[in-house]
């Protein structure tokens, strides 16, 4: 049996830029999650997920030593940072966009949830500044 959850529940992310190429790294919580994302998060699925945002090819690399996949997306930055008209011309937010993707996971992973932000420390700072 499988269940459908967002990558966000089980993976971290960071995006980087070089020219018009964005690379988005996807970090599995543990080895069980790594096996699942290796099977589920293919280059083709990532290409389809980003649709018109990525005009070129998507290549996937594996870094098993850090339980990560690295997606290298060509034509992902509207022509490249200094040429792009997009506000996020360096694609800093594309990691978050990737972990919106839903995948099928085995039942034993289906209850996994991303930790929820607790920013009481920030609220205390802002309240104190009033």
């Amino acid at each position: 049996m499988t269940a459908r959850i967002r990558l966000h529940e089980i993976c971290g992310y960071r995006a980087g830029d070089k020219g018009d190429i964005s690379n988005v790294a996807l970090f599995a919580e543990d080895a069980a999650v790594y096996d699942v994302i290796c099977a589920e998060v293919t280059a083709d699925r990532v290409k389809a997920h980003f649709g018109s945002m990525v005009t070129g090819t998507v290549i996937r690399y594996e870094a098993a030593n850090v339980l990560a996949l690295n997606f290298v997306m060509d034509g992902a930055l509207g022509g490249g940072g200094p040429r792009s008209l997009r506000a996020d011309s360096l694609g800093k937010t594309l990691g978050g966009a990737l972990v919106r993707m839903e995948i099928d996971v085995p039942d034993e992973l289906s209850a996994r949830r991303a930790p929820r932000p607790d920013v009481r420390w920030a609220e205390e700072i802002l309240d104190g500044a009033e």
Binding site: N23, N65, R83, L85, R86
Partner: protein
Amino acid sequence: MSGTVRIGGGQGFYGDTPRSVQGLLDDGIDYLCLEALAELTLAILQKDRQKDETRGYTRDLPLYLGAALPAVAAGRTKVITNAGGINPTAAARAAVDTAKALGISGIRIATVLGDDLMPRLDDIAGTTSLVHLDTGAAFSEFPGAPLFAAAYLGARPIADALAQGADIVITGRVADAALFLAPLAHEHRWAWDDWDRLAAGTLVGHLLECSGQSAGGNLSRDWWTVPNPWDLPYPIAEVDTDGTAVITKPKGSGGRVSFDTVRHQLLYEVHDPAAYLSPDVTADFTSATFDDLGDDRVRVTGVRGLAATDTYKALLAHHAGWAGEARIAFSWPEADAKATATAAIFQKRVELAGLQVDEWCVELWGVDALGGPTVPPTDAEPPECVARVAWRCPDAQTAGLVAREMVPLTLSAPPAGFTGMGRGGGRPTELLGIWPTLVEKSLVDPHVSVAIEEV
């Protein structure tokens, strides 16, 4: 030097804060490495130099040196930086002036030259193809005149400068990680074909080159648990002769160094992690083992490398038109529909005004400006929405006239939008295209030199 070398990554880009450098110096580092050049920083610096021949380096260099020079003068720390940008000689002059202003003498400042290909570009283009590395386009298709052309040099000339007794080494364009590999190779006497050691030093450099990003900055998932994020430190590497390294941070600082923070940086701006191409080595980042030792210490072992290629990456840039940008904000009800309609009315008005726009970009902030097609469709209405419209024109004047067409829409478009100009206070900005390519090392190396000046 026998034993462990401590290196601090004190800058991640031109505009980073020099304040965190003091924490590195207080913790005790043998080398402070300052990485100041993003892909397009040279274009900014080139414009600076066009206005003033004594410019062309990152102008915050004196701030960093002001913090570091007491430790340098005391013989505790040496500084390596690519802050020279397009004009390392002028940067060295600024370094000399900074030292004199602080009353510091008896230090050696080295300048590494030879990365700038502009003076020889015609010769180089006649010898090698300079095809676009990503698109494969021939150099004959290069749009217009190059604004700059620079090769990413490796660690060797920096290590040469250190061998000549330099206390401060200033370069132009070098591979970011080479700033960090150079002192390690120098201190540990690594051979330039000891690929595993060179790969280990390159990986360490890659982990340190983006300052706070190894120490809890830009961390996904449990980012809010990073201690004292307003005091986010810069990272330190303790590197042994065999290439084993511990990534850590200054004692008592905020931030975090863990397996998770380190792996986030490991793949940042990396393509094939099993073949990270640098001028000095082809490093296999997937061969490394990362052990989280606790107490903000992560040990890196087992890095493997293969021979470097016989080319340097080089980067050229060209003018790519002028951009403008305007924003108009709407509140509920029908905020996104009003924003969409207003963007369309704006485009139509620009067209009727006879202004040439070569490209439009419309983003609905509060809806899908950042996520685009990855945002699932919803029937829920956003509480507010900002339309951000950007455009590209052939000249600056047209780009500026387009912006003016947004202002009257406050009164003449769907209800209750208010405009605020973005991007350069409403002034047009120049767009730049970049042209990455490869140049044979044999065409570059004969022109690389090190100059040393004693203060």
